[in-house]
């Protein structure tokens, strides 16, 4: 447990999941018979128009909500079992840091919640901090950091429990385009170090392709997965691939699918 290592765990299987929300005088089918398979250690991006239920799917996988029908399994465990065992990691668009805690102490939060002795994880935390490039800022408060740095803290916090599944809900959605590209490169590097099974919800087609092994395209009302597209690029990927015709071709195809699915 003392240093970072590749994770084990089982494949992630979503089968015929349904979830509806009752509004005042309407029923929204956020997810309609959604099925998805993610092999261990692979990276999948979820793209789709607003309201297609991609964040809902992520919350179901995080064990924060339950489906109305269908099943979600990670290996042979339910998301809630994974959650209570502390085997999941999440990062949101909002870094959601505790404003009164330093960078170091924000990262230790999940360990404290799990009741693990923080001092046993000193090396892990130090490695994580250098992995996300925050050396020298261990004792800074979130208010003293830039937006990108805060997001790095949130990602380090998501990784500190050495999760088997990493759930990212538009983690760079609030950053500007240039910073977003830098963070994409960083995320690839961080992810490659341990390769947790990862689901990334994003609005950006480029980000989805650049990071993922597969891109799942969703449509809205009702929320469905309409196609899963393979991304053929070798890893590690360099930013230059974004200028290749293959990349453009893939991006065009995904945006066609998005528009066909009643998109933006």
């Amino acid at each position: 447990m003392s240093t970072l290592q590749e994770v084990a765990g089982g494949a992630l299987r979503v089968q015929n999941v349904e979830r509806t929300f009752a509004l005042k005088d309407d029923v929204v089918r956020a997810l309609d018979k959604v099925s998805l398979e993610v092999p261990v250690g692979s990276f999948i991006s979820l793209i789709g128009p607003s309201g297609c239920g991609k964040s809902t799917l992520l919350r179901l996988l995080a064990g924060l909500e339950s489906p109305d029908a269908g099943s979600l399994l990670i290996g042979d465990k339910t998301p809630n079992e994974m959650r209570t065992a502390g085997r999941l990691g999440v990062a949101f668009q909002d870094p959601a840091l505790m404003p009164w805690r330093s960078v170091w102490k924000n990262i230790t939060l999940p360990l404290q919640v799990m009741g693990k002795p923080v001092k046993d994880f000193k090396t892990v935390i130090e490695e994580l901090i250098s992995l996300v490039g925050l050396q020298g800022f261990e004792h800074a408060l979130p208010s003293q950091l830039s937006g990108g740095m805060r997001q790095r803290v949130a990602i380090a916090r998501a990784l500190v429990t050495e999760p088997e599944v990493l759930l990212l809900d538009e983690p760079f959605g609030a950053l500007d385009e240039i910073l977003r590209r830098t963070m994409n490169l960083e995320l690839q590097r961080i992810w490659s170090a341990r390769r947790p099974t990862t689901i990334l919800v994003t609005h950006s087609i480029e980000e989805a392709i650049f990071l993922a092994d597969k891109v799942a395209v969703m449509s809205a009302r009702p929320g469905r997965i309409i196609e899963i597209v393979d991304v053929p690029f070798e890893r590690p990927r360099v930013p230059e691939i974004m200028r290749s015709s293959e990349f453009h071709h893939l991006a065009d195809r995904l945006s066609e699918l998005l528009f066909a699915g009643g998109g933006h």
């Binding site: 959650r83 065992a85 404003p99 939060l109 999940p110 799990m114 208010s143």
Partner: protein, 513 residues
């Protein structure tokens, strides 16, 4: 340099005012010596210096104990209300009663039930409860939902969320409530000291000095009480500033619980009835625990009997009615004058900021002076008259109203002001067309927040000085051992005060639509 010149100007204003005060005092120009010069007050303070330690220590001990007890109860209640909606509904009546009740009406009841300094501690605790309760509840509720998700995903339970997030998130709210609660505890203690109990205490000292025709002594007691209240306030302001690393609002939200009830009318009514039942239940419980004689301790039913079937019921009813018809109009006039003064200063401040800044420090000082210590001074200056009562009332309602109105004026939409400007209007025009209409709901909010203070102000003036109305009825009933009336005044004043704040709350809802 800019800071320095502002500081220099501020000091200049203070020195000028002190000089004018000195001249007025030395020449006895106000109320034949009712306003002594600052140097005379300091000289008196020095002469009486050995009187203060025993009085002050008793007062501080009672206020401090009440502060701790009241806050512990308020924090526990607030935490439970934050967690369970049903608890919030049940506790609403208690919070509302403690917010609205004119504390002085409770003093005789407490003196019947307890001895020594206990009534003082209880009244201090009652004065402290509401601000801390509201702050705890709001602080624990208004947390970052994403942070809650982070803790949940790390395998946490609702207890973990409470432990790692809610408590710490609520802390700055609670400390800023302490700033309000600390002077309130002093106010509660001083009021209870007026009722007696022991021969020590700042309030007792003040009461004993009332008949001595020594204005300097009254003023110096007032200043000492102000100093205590101000230092308690500043202590918690300092802790709060250290604690709040990210910027957050320093004001305590007092507006939520009143308009907080939502849902269909029958549900709100039901909630109201149930929460009123909780208050009555607590009352009955306390009486049965204390095991007091029914001659002295009155249950809710006994009060109803006192006003209906008792042989002297009609006499009691008319005395009660007369007292209310003296007190309530005065409180209303005082409240309206206070609101008008607040609006005037707020308007001046938004038109001529420099002028406003010069007046503000004095408004602030008048605000920190505890009401029980302020009242005798106002009576000294204005005489035992209706005018004095109204001035007391204005002085307690002015400042909270001013803050509320000023906030409303400051938050008027810049775009709307630009529209007026572009059409050729100046500051006055934008105030007339944009600022003032926007301030109307704030005026109603201010009225709701200040109404209980207005009632308390009038009753204290009546109790100490003018010999009219409810305050006097309390005094008389104590003298006549009319236990029924003592309990009736306490109960009805809570009911009337809650009713008035509810009415203003309703008006607030209408104007905000």
């Amino acid at each position: 340099m800019k800071n320095f010149s502002r500081f220099a100007r501020g000091t200049g204003v203070v020195l000028i005012v002190l000089a004018i005060w000195e001249i007025l005092g030395r020449l006895e120009l106000v109320g034949q010596g009712a306003l002594p010069a600052p140097t005379q007050i300091l000289a008196q303070l020095w002469k009486d210096r050995s009187d203060y330690p025993p009085h002050l220590s008793v007062t501080l001990k009672s206020a401090g104990t009440g502060f701790v007890i009241g806050n512990i109860i308020a924090i526990i209640a607030g935490a439970i209300a934050a967690r369970f909606r049903i608890a919030e509904t049940l506790l609403r009546g208690l919070g509302m009663s403690l917010f609205a009740v004119p504390l002085i009406a409770i003093v005789p009841v407490l003196l019947l039930a307890f001895t020594g300094t206990t009534p003082r501690i209880i009244l201090a605790a009652m004065a402290v409860y509401f601000p801390t309760y509201i702050a705890t509840m709001n602080g624990m509720r208004n947390v970052d939902e994403r942070l809650v998700d982070v803790v949940m995903v790390a395998g946490g339970s609702t207890t973990d969320v409470l432990r790692w997030i809610r408590v710490r998130s609520a802390l700055p709210y609670i400390v800023s409530a302490f700033r309000v609660a600390a002077p309130a505890a002093l106010l509660g203690t001083l009021l209870a000291e007026f009722g007696g109990g022991t021969r020590w205490g700042l309030g007792t000292y003040l009461l004993g000095s009332l008949g001595q025709a020594n204005p300097s002594r009254l003023w110096s007691i007032g200043l000492v009480a102000t100093a205590v209240a101000a230092s308690a306030y500043m202590l918690f302001a300092f802790i709060g500033a250290r604690l709040t690393q990210s910027s957050m609002s320093a004001t305590v939200q007092t507006s939520l619980p009143m308009g907080g009830a939502t849902g269909p009318w029958w549900k709100r009514l039901g909630g109201g009835v149930i929460s009123a039942g909780v208050v009555l239940g607590l009352w009955a419980l306390v009486l049965s625990i204390l095991d007091m004689s029914p001659v002295v301790a009155k249950s809710p039913f006994a009060i109803v009997r006192y006003l209906t079937t008792d042989p002297r019921a009609s006499v009691s009813r008319s005395r009660l009615f007369d007292a209310y018809s003296e007190t309530l109009p005065l409180a209303l006039i005082g409240l309206l004058c206070g609101l008008a003064a607040a609006l005037l200063l707020a308007v001046i401040l938004s038109l001529r900021p420099a002028l406003g800044r010069a007046v503000l420090p004095f408004a602030l000082v008048s605000q920190t002076m505890p009401l029980p210590a302020l009242t005798p001074l106002i009576v000294l200056v204005f005489g035992r008259s209706i005018l004095a009562t109204v001035v007391v009332c204005v002085s307690v309602t002015f400042f909270p109203s001013f803050v509320t109105i000023l906030q409303a004026l400051a938050t008027t939409s810049p775009a709307a002001i630009d529209v007026v400007r572009v059409s050729g209007g100046g500051r006055l025009k934008s105030l007339r067309f944009v600022g003032l209409p926007g301030a109307v709901p704030a005026m109603v909010t201010a009225a709701r927040l200040a109404a209980p203070r207005a009632l308390l102000g009038v009753m204290i003036a009546e109790y100490l000085a003018t010999g009219d109305g409810l305050g006097n009825l309390l005094n008389e009933s104590r003298g006549r051992l009319d236990y029924g009336m003592i309990w009736t005044v306490a109960t009805t004043s809570v009911l009337v005060a809650v009713l008035i704040t509810q009415l203003f709350g309703l008006a607030e809802k209408l104007t905000r639509q």
